[in-house]
């Protein structure tokens, strides 16, 4: 391996690692607040760029129907809270309207935003419809539910978008070269977004009382409830934040890696591996873990490309072993 190949692989690994880092942050955030391991995060990521691709072709995306249907179901569940229910029905109408606008001649950058907005309600609605009805579920029950949702959403993705791959246009086209390595300009958009998202989350959790309330829910649910913090609301906010970050990430990387209905799962799974490296509790360790996963994958795809996924997932074994020793030392704090 010479220097050129080394730096190519480095650039590739950093790019993927950044995406894994964003997903790992979402998974840690959602898990900390709700104890849900959000397996369908990858599908929520995939819905946005594929909807964008359909909007650009002048087609009405099925995700808008799904999003609106979930909002209507939510309104039915909360029919006793009339104002909330009406707002949800209105929002469902707005989602359909936005999709219609997007598929009937909206400019490209508007369609870009519309695609994200169409997908956003699915996050909190997923929590409200499937997880909130089980407030005392165990981590395992939530995990089984999450895996089920992953299959359903992925199947719906196949129904909505078919098996084709799409390559939506990049926000910044062209290439820049860094030394000997040519990099698509879009990569810098990815880095900028990752930086802003991390900075934003950091400020949200350390400066705003609302962010601290979310952390409070994560460290002591009962303490949060007696302080007047509603854990269901906190859960919906966590799902909303995660969906927003995932959807924008999907929009940004689709021009680099192609978008298809199956793209989300492996991205989410690697984000999950990164999250596990941080014990699903530490944000900085999750980001570090994501970069490790990205680089490991990149270099192993050069030396042993057939095994690149296997090598990444094999990384879990020593980490889980090490963590299991630490948990024993702490006397098994799991509920």
């Amino acid at each position: 391996m010479d220097w050129t190949i080394f730096s190519f692989l480095l650039a590739d690994g950093l790019q993927n690692g950044t995406i894994y880092a964003l997903l790992a942050l979402c998974l840690v955030l959602v898990f900390a607040v709700t104890r849900v391991i959000l397996v369908p995060l990858g599908e929520l990521l995939m819905f946005a760029p594929l909807s964008y691709a359909l909007l650009l072709q002048g087609q009405f995306p099925g995700t808008a129907w799904l999003s609106a249907a979930m909002l209507v179901a939510w309104a039915l569940l909360d029919r006793n809270r009339l104002r909330l229910a009406l707002a949800l029905l209105l929002l469902a109408g707005v989602v359909l309207g936005l999709a219609y606008w997007g598929s009937h001649g909206a400019p490209g950058w508007v369609a870009w935003l519309l695609a994200v907005l169409i997908v956003l309600p699915m996050g909190p609605a997923t929590y409200r419809l499937f997880f909130e009805p089980l407030p005392h579920g165990t981590v395992l029950v939530y995990l089984i539910l999450a895996v089920g949702l992953h299959f359903v959403y992925q199947g719906l993705g196949l129904v909505f978008f078919g098996p084709e791959q799409y390559r939506p246009p990049a926000l910044l086209s062209g290439e820049a070269s860094l030394g000997t390595v040519p990099l698509p300009r879009q990569v810098f958009v990815v880095y900028a977004f990752a930086f802003l998202a991390m900075l934003g989350l950091y400020l949200f959790f350390t400066r705003s009382l609302y962010g601290k309330a979310l952390r409070a829910c994560a460290v002591n649910r009962l303490g949060a409830r007696i302080s007047g913090i509603n854990p269901s609301e906190a859960g919906r906010v966590a799902f909303l934040l995660a969906t927003a970050i995932a959807a924008v990430s999907g929009m940004l990387i689709a021009p680099l890696v192609n978008a298809a209905y199956f793209m989300g799962f492996l991205l989410g799974l690697k984000g999950f591996v990164a999250g596990i490296l941080g014990g699903l509790i530490s944000y900085p360790m999750a980001v570090g873990g994501a970069l490790v996963v990205g680089l490991l994958e990149s270099y192993s795809s050069f030396t042993a490309s057939a095994y690149k996924e296997a090598i990444v997932f094999a990384l879990l074994l020593p980490v889980l072993f090490w963590r299991s020793l630490r948990t024993l030392e702490l006397g098994g704090e799991e509920e």
Partner: protein
């Protein structure tokens, strides 16, 4: 209008009845204590009251029936529990813990939160010293002070205290009860659950004695303090323990 009226409260865990047909009330400005031995159902009463465990019977708070109670909704209305295990946010700073106690008021954009923070710091100067420290690193007594301080940040109209003396040194217990006396003088109604019957009856206006989930005695705190049955069952042993 009573602050709190509880009628025929029954709390059941599976086949076990922890509290059976308990009725009591708290009036405006009053400190009421529930005393009784371990396992008498005192904590279960509080948990059933705020909706943390399923309970039958009626609960009226400030004249309003509360059929579907949750701790978060009650806290928003000023009925705040200080639980036995304190349930602090261990990895957040002392000041963040206090500010989160006023979360609902913050959401409603109420004024006076800063002033109340200063007030809590004057009540518990030790919290001011430790304001940037993680809540989980403090001693048991300081954590109890923080738990009470966090509840006060909600500007409670009824404070439920579950065993504030539990596991604390006598000197700290004295300090905390002095603070509770101050809150009583400010007119904050308190429902106090205690095993330390002498301290509790010394502070309270009225008391209820629970045994095995049932009410066995009620009356003015002064009368209970001199009642031979209470003296024998609780104060004889407990009194010595408190002084030891």
């Amino acid at each position: 209008m009573s602050v709190l009226e509880v009628e025929h409260l029954t709390v059941r865990y599976g086949a076990v009845e922890a509290v059976r047909d308990l009725s009591f009330r708290v009036e405006e400005g009053e400190v009421v204590t529930l005393i009784g031995p371990n396992g008498a159902g005192k904590t279960s009463t509080l948990l059933g009251l705020v909706g943390l465990v399923a309970a039958r019977g009626s609960v009226r708070y400030r004249g309003q029936a509360q059929p579907h109670r949750t701790p978060e909704a009650l806290s928003a209305q000023g009925l705040v529990l200080v639980p036995e295990k304190r349930e602090l946010f261990a990895s957040l700073s002392v000041e963040d813990n206090l500010l989160l106690g006023a979360f609902q008021r913050h959401q409603r954009r109420e004024s006076g939160i800063r002033a109340d923070l200063e007030w809590v710091y004057t009540l518990f100067p030790r919290l001011l010293e430790r304001r940037t420290q993680f809540a989980g690193t403090m001693s048991g007594g300081e954590q109890q002070m923080l738990a009470i301080g966090r509840a006060l940040m909600a500007r409670p109209k009824l404070l439920l205290l579950d065993e504030p003396s539990l596991g604390l040194a006598p000197l700290i217990v004295r300090e905390i009860f002095d603070i509770l006396g101050g809150l009583k003088r400010e007119g904050i109604p308190i429902l106090l659950v205690e095993q330390n019957a002498r301290m509790a009856l010394g502070l309270a206006d009225r008391g209820y004695v629970l045994e095995a989930g049932e009410l066995v005695m009620e009356g003015r705190a002064q009368d209970l303090l001199h009642d031979p049955r209470v003296l024998e069952s609780y104060l004889g042993l407990r009194g010595k323990e408190a002084e030891a």
